[in-house]
Symmetry: C2
């Protein structure tokens, strides 16, 4: 059968994917790969798929799409305190892709494999009638019993978030409404920062060990800070109070919110942050913040877990009235 | 956001997927699952995706589609001599699915989890603009160093296949051309057998231990017997000769070929058999055949590996001239 894009399945594997393969993947010439677990470790397994027109735009460059697909999974591993081992990729290809696009996809994966320390354990390539899809299964490892759970927060813990919140949601808003940046009077550097944070998450894998050592509970913020902390509170059987004024916003997000106050609600409830939300016992907060500082990653206490239930956002900002318990839902 | 099919993402997880979850998947309420490998074992990892309109028909029942998605992966594990542990599933849902369909999907997965002894370690649910997709990552285990490889065939080994060959390819031909069955004069029982074998593979997981104990090389036949044995020959650095008269055909396939001789080429080169193709050293052939008989699964020697390269199909049937080295290509 004639191959799409002028490149056949076996050529595609040999050209793009075999160079990314782990030793146990046998050059991707077998039906499966093997992996020998290290003694004393648990594996951590996670799976996230990205779909053209749903999780990214059809005209996003394929290197960025590939990196996003990998990074949303790496973000889950980081939140669990897990060090990446490898991944498998099911790639759904549209009919009309180009060799340049597939080469870009491979280059994006190669760059992130090197940056995050993992390799490819196999996958599948299928025809995708509606456009590019990438379904990634990521595998990490923790010490036995060491996976940090969403439901691990305890009353009295400090709630810490990494990086900055809301950039990706604001970037998506700018992407959907190209005139918005002008209406907000955003300088190009701020606009570009927000767009880039939507395009390319920054998973906090450099903090995985510190998460495992310090956090009692953790998750990554993928569906919006407020909604996700609500899930953590529910899973942990605690209430979580956060102070809106302490939520870290980038300069770009601050400029957007200053121009249009309702955007604070977008920042606090919008998806795609891929930052960490952690619950840390008081005695370990300083150690975690020091580890984050050493890694060059921002980390800020924004609230506290207490006996009770639900998520409360404290602050006087007028946009807070709009919050509800909104969280991005997947369909 | 309003959910498709009158069922929201969290309800979907709670209703359909949480009952399928492994202990380490924490009721699918976390970002990831953990798995504690057994000492002395390697994990075997494989990933196959099925797409509506490509790997199954849009009007196939969802319980069968779900089972097919799982089974094509279980077939890979069986061919590697691996015992199933668990799987992850990325489910792409069209806009207009019904609760009955999603319940059927869950029931199909539940039935096969019980039949094949594995459970769900997580996944993702996304919107799929072009129709249902299921991307499965399956995890199995073998003794350390014990994964049976495609490239393990050695000169002198006997080539053994399980079950019957070509039923699924003939079933697909019947599905694509509803008048074909009548033209061939096939009784309903034969037509139904072939259609069913296309709809629902029979992975040979019951033979995984025998494969691990006896086979020097192995793969599952997913892209056609001749083409797949050609891949085994190439990966192993041997030639493989098979005798077309010894390839096991079901009564239904024999009837189809008797009516239309060219269909033998379809049977020998068509995809979706999901039977095992094994290379077994002479001294272990009897033990493997005995294990297959004990499991109630057909297993037949059809040829031999020898020094050289390539795949040769011996026999006098006129359709053999059409074979070429055809093998289904994925796009």
């Amino acid at each position: 059968m004639a191959a799409a894009g002028g490149i056949g399945e076996f050529e595609l594997i040999a050209r793009v994917f075999a160079p990314l393969a782990a030793d146990g993947a046998l050059g991707l010439t077998d039906d499966a790969a093997f992996y020998r677990p290290r003694p004393g470790r648990d594996l951590v397994l996670t799976k996230d798929e990205v779909v053209s027109g749903v999780h990214f735009f059809a005209d996003d460059p394929w290197d960025a799409v590939a990196r996003k697909a990998l990074r949303v999974n790496l973000s889950d591993l980081a939140a669990k305190g897990a060090t990446p081992v490898g991944y498998l990729l099911a790639l759904g290809l549209p009919k009309d892709f180009s060799v340049d696009q597939i080469d870009a996809l491979g280059a994006g994966l190669a760059a992130d494999q090197a940056a995050y320390g993992l390799s490819l354990y196999g996958g599948d390539t299928v025809r995708s009638p509606a456009g590019l899809t990438l379904s990634v299964t990521a595998i990490g490892e923790v010490k036995q019993g060491g996976m940090v759970r969403r439901g691990g927060a305890r009353a009295g813990d400090t709630i810490v978030v990494t990086g900055t919140i809301g950039d990706a949601a604001l970037g998506l808003a700018l992407r959907l409404d190209p005139a918005l940046s002008g209406r907000l009077g955003l300088p190009d550097v701020h606009r570009d920062h927000l767009l880039d944070r939507y395009l390319l998450p920054r998973p906090r894998g450099a903090l995985a060990t510190a998460v495992a050592d310090c956090a009692s509970g953790g998750m990554d913020i993928s569906d919006g800070l407020v909604g996700d902390l609500g899930k953590m509170a529910a899973a942990s059987g605690v209430a979580i109070d956060i102070d809106a004024d302490r939520v870290p916003l980038s300069d770009a997000a601050q400029a957007a919110v200053a121009a249009e106050p309702r955007l604070l609600a977008v920042a606090l409830t919008g998806g795609d942050d891929y930052e960490l939300a952690l619950s840390i016992p008081e005695a370990k907060v300083a150690a975690f913040l020091a580890a984050a500082a050493a890694a060059g990653i921002g980390a800020v206490p924004i609230g506290r877990a207490r006996a009770g239930e639900g998520i409360a956002v404290r602050g006087n900002h007028p946009a807070l009235a709009d919050l509800g318990s909104g969280s991005y839902r997947h369909f």
